[in-house]
Amino acid sequence: MSLGRGVRREEEQRRSVFTRRALALGMGQLALFGFLGTRLWRLQSEEGDRYRTLAEENRVSARLIPPPRGQVLDRNGRVIAGNRLNWRALLVAEQTQDVGATLETFSRIVPLQDHERARIERDVRRRRRFVPVTVREFLAWEEMARIEVNAPDLPGIIIDVGQTRLYPENEHLAHMVGYVAPPAERDMDGDPLLELPGIRVGRAGIEKHHDLALRGRAGAVQLEVNAVGRVIRELDRREGIPGQDVQLSVDAELQKALRGRIEEGTSIVVLDARNGEVLAMASQPSFDPNIFNAGVSAQQWREWTRNRATPLINKATNGLYAPGSTFKMIVALAGLEAKAVTPADRVYCPGYLDLGDTRFHCWQKHGHGSVDMRAGIKVSCDVYFYEVAKRVGIDRIAAMASRFGLGVELDIELPGTKKGLVPTRGWRQAQGKPWNLGDTIVHGIGQGFYQVTPLQLATMAARLATGRAVQPHLTRSIGGRPVRGTKPEDWPSLGIPERDLRLMREGMWAVVNEPGGTALASRLPGSLGVMAGKTGSVQVRRISREQRERGFKTESLPREWRPHALFVAFAPYDNPVYAVSVVVEHGMSGSGAAAPLARDTLVEVFNRFRTPPAAPGQRVAEGPRP
């Protein structure tokens, strides 16, 4: 019994020790569970918002959708800069067992260069295996067909379509439309769109001037991605705003027809004289803007920049020439305004004018005899305008030239357009040189320091024809909304008396239509209308007295030393609608080379527009050509 009691006491003792200890253990463990509970409370309740944000950042990835770039249309709605589908072959590495084998098969169908292979393999290594890698862009239809047919042997190759710029008229409108290229660092204007791969920005011409309108606004898509960045689904999509279409005043058909007529170094500008719309602006040679799309090779670039005929430069806006005799109306108007001369004042032309011991020659060696203002223009008598210039002075001539758009910046939508130069006494003196009377005389016939562009000459012709300060411009509408300045009343008057202007127009009519006029051979066929114009020839090199005395012939000069040929015109004479300027580099004489081209231009214009182009202010409907 005592043993049993002892056993029981032992048992009670170790049991009570166990109970206490186990309770302590259990309580301790319970407390630690409590700790976990508070921990969860802190994470999920107190800091929940912070972690919710982090979870969203983890899962949501925003991407931009590039909007389609706006089209550039001609006045008839024909696309001159559009978008075309760019078919691409892409490789998704995770869909093929062996990237090398797939590329090997692919290059048997569409040959791949070694450097292309190297780039593809590098891209595959760098990117995650589900991200497509570009294998080849701009696939031809036939290449695509062959890829599709061989699809079972090309695991991982997918065909995908993007957009790329297309200029259907190739080089014909390149100088106006410009071109696009991938954005450079300086193009980054904070628009996130520019950071997208494959995006293009306007680099020249209308593409550059209206880049923002054409570009549109990027859309955005919110994607749910998983831990490795694979897209699971689309959460939200905000459509972008497509780029706006820009309609130009130019007529693509006319432009092409004119370009077909001209040789290297020639430029033609045709304006609607009433409102300054550019109908055509041709400069030869040109370039194919499509080449910029895929990237210009170093060789191509060398070819362009080393070409002395400068295909990349638009001679109509950036070629600088002395206006020569086409400038004579400006001198005459300056004389009339200053009352330094009356239309009836006569000047005797013996074939030269002597000033001190310097002799200034008339182009007509034997002289024109007694010449009034109308005749001075008609026969382009140099001596008459030497005399007028002498009486007016250079500064008043310069002021008149500026009113006609010469030597000033025009509002044309072509970035980088040249301003040119119309010299004044002050300009010369700023160079530390005196202005002599002899300089004034030389400038009286449009020679000397003058630098004007064919576009400025056409503007001058339009302003002579209308008496209004029309500005040449290319844009008719943006996104369907017409731009300003389509009506003649939109343009302020030049403030020159109609009587004076009429005299100029008469003189120009006589140039083309009266026997003895310098461009009589180039008058229009009677059925079409009447052209009025003015010839000009400008020396590229000074002709020395000895050469002159030896019976010098300009034809004997090497081509690049021959004079430039110029012509400005408007038509129809009685109701001017078109203003034209023609510059033929080294064309020898305005009457011989430029005037016939101006006539052909107007024949082309009249044939294209049997009726004058859509009445000013009225938007031409897109559709059939007039």
Binding site: R21, L25, F33, L40, A55, N58, A227, V228
Partner: protein, 382 residues
């Protein structure tokens, strides 16, 4: 007095019939375990995006586990006590085997293939250690436990497997194994001053030992502490786990709606980070509910211990309860970024056959303790 005692013994003896035993099985507890396993099914359904990947297998394994558990529950606890030594020996043997022939996983030798089953002997060892220690202490009186020499063999019983697990290397599991041993020692009545002395000794030795290590050895210790992955990767896992937990908020994102889990930001979501998955989709409410269920499981182990009338059962229950507690605590503390240890699954919820097997084996033993809580082991000895 003595007569009533004898009578009670007789009644108890009658209770050893198989039917009686089944009646004694704590069915409420079986229900609790089933509930926890059901939570596991739901979470694994979400983790796998359907039942096929993990959830179906999980249910099947739990079914097998239940059979195993109930089979063990009716084995007489005295038989189990007799076989404890064998179990301990098998555990140690498997640990040696895994060192010699084990599969290397994530830089450590962890498991061996037994037929279709991948067994992690260290998991089994924890249970076998509790069993072995309970067997050693079953008849030791309070005075006997006070004897230092008497404590030496069980100390070796703890240190031997701890050393073998360290050699894998897996410091985390080794520490957990040592803690289970410590809990049984504590409950068995080891004097507190000895405990204090031991802790002080370890506490002073560890930093000194650490400073005398080479850099590569220190790096190895870091790997010990977080054996699953490199520090950078582990950091990422913990950060993503905290984001998942926190973003779940009070009410959660909803079943199958957890973005962190379903978009794979959450690593190992079907095993170590399954609790995160639950917390993300069911929020604080769900997380605390699951934590509560798991706490009840641990609590039940203690209840079994308190109701048991023999020291073997009591110590075994405390050992098993501590094992269960450590699993749960280390796992949840890990996914909440509270401690840097990795690689511990959540029992009955995480995906994994070997873990399910050992867990249910442990519960089987616990149930046997409960079914045979009044079994006569004979008196304590000095």
């Amino acid at each position: 007095m003595s007569a009533t005692f004898e009578r009670r013994l007789l009644t108890r003896d009658r209770g050893h019939g198989l039917l009686q035993k089944f009646w004694r099985i704590p069915w409420l507890f079986v229900l609790l375990l089933s509930a926890v396993a059901a939570v596991g099914y739901v979470a694994l359904y979400s983790a796998g995006g359907g039942p096929e990947a993990y959830a179906a297998k999980h249910a099947l394994r739990f079914g097998f586990g239940l059979v195993l558990m109930l089979s063990i529950a009716v084995i007489d606890i005295r038989v189990i006590a007799k076989l404890a030594w064998l179990g301990y020996a098998i555990g140690v043997g498997l640990l040696v085997l895994v060192l010699l022939h084990g599969n290397i996983g994530k830089g450590a030798q962890r498991w061996i293939d037994i037929g279709p089953l991948q067994l992690q002997p260290s998991e089994l060892m924890k249970i076998m250690l509790a069993l072995g220690l309970a067997a050693w202490f079953q008849r030791a009186s309070w005075e006997r436990v006070g004897n230092l020499l008497f404590l030496l063999p069980p100390a070796i019983m703890v240190l031997l497997p701890v050393g073998l697990i360290l050699k894998q290397p897996n410091l985390g599991t080794a520490l957990i194994t040592a803690m289970i041993g410590g809990a049984v020692f504590f409950a068995a009545g080891m004097r507190l001053w000895k405990f204090a002395l031991l802790l002080a000794a370890v506490g002073t030795a560890a930093p000194i030992a650490y400073t005398h290590l080479h850099d590569y050895q220190k790096a190895r210790i870091t790997t010990f502490l977080d054996p699953e992955s490199d520090p950078l990767g582990a950091g990422y896992n913990i950060i993503q786990s905290k984001i998942a937990l926190g973003s779940g908020g009070i009410w959660g994102k909803g079943f199958l709606q957890g973005t962190q889990g379903h978009l794979n930001f959450l690593p190992e979501k079907q095993t170590d980070f399954i609790f995160t998955m639950i917390a993300e989709e069911f929020g604080l409410v769900g997380a605390l509910s699951v934590l509560g269920l798991l706490a009840l499981v641990v609590l039940f182990c203690y209840l079994v211990a308190f109701r048991c009338r023999h020291q073997f059962g009591r110590l075994l229950a405390v050992g098993l309860g501590t094992n269960m507690f450590l699993y749960i605590f280390v796992n949840i503390a890990m996914v909440t970024g509270s401690i840097p240890v990795g690689g511990v699954p959540l029992p009955l919820i995480s995906h994994g056959g070997s873990a399910m097997l050992t867990t249910m084996l442990g519960f089987g033993l616990l149930m046997s303790v409960h079914v045979h809580r009044d079994a006569e082991f004979g008196p304590a000895r000095d």
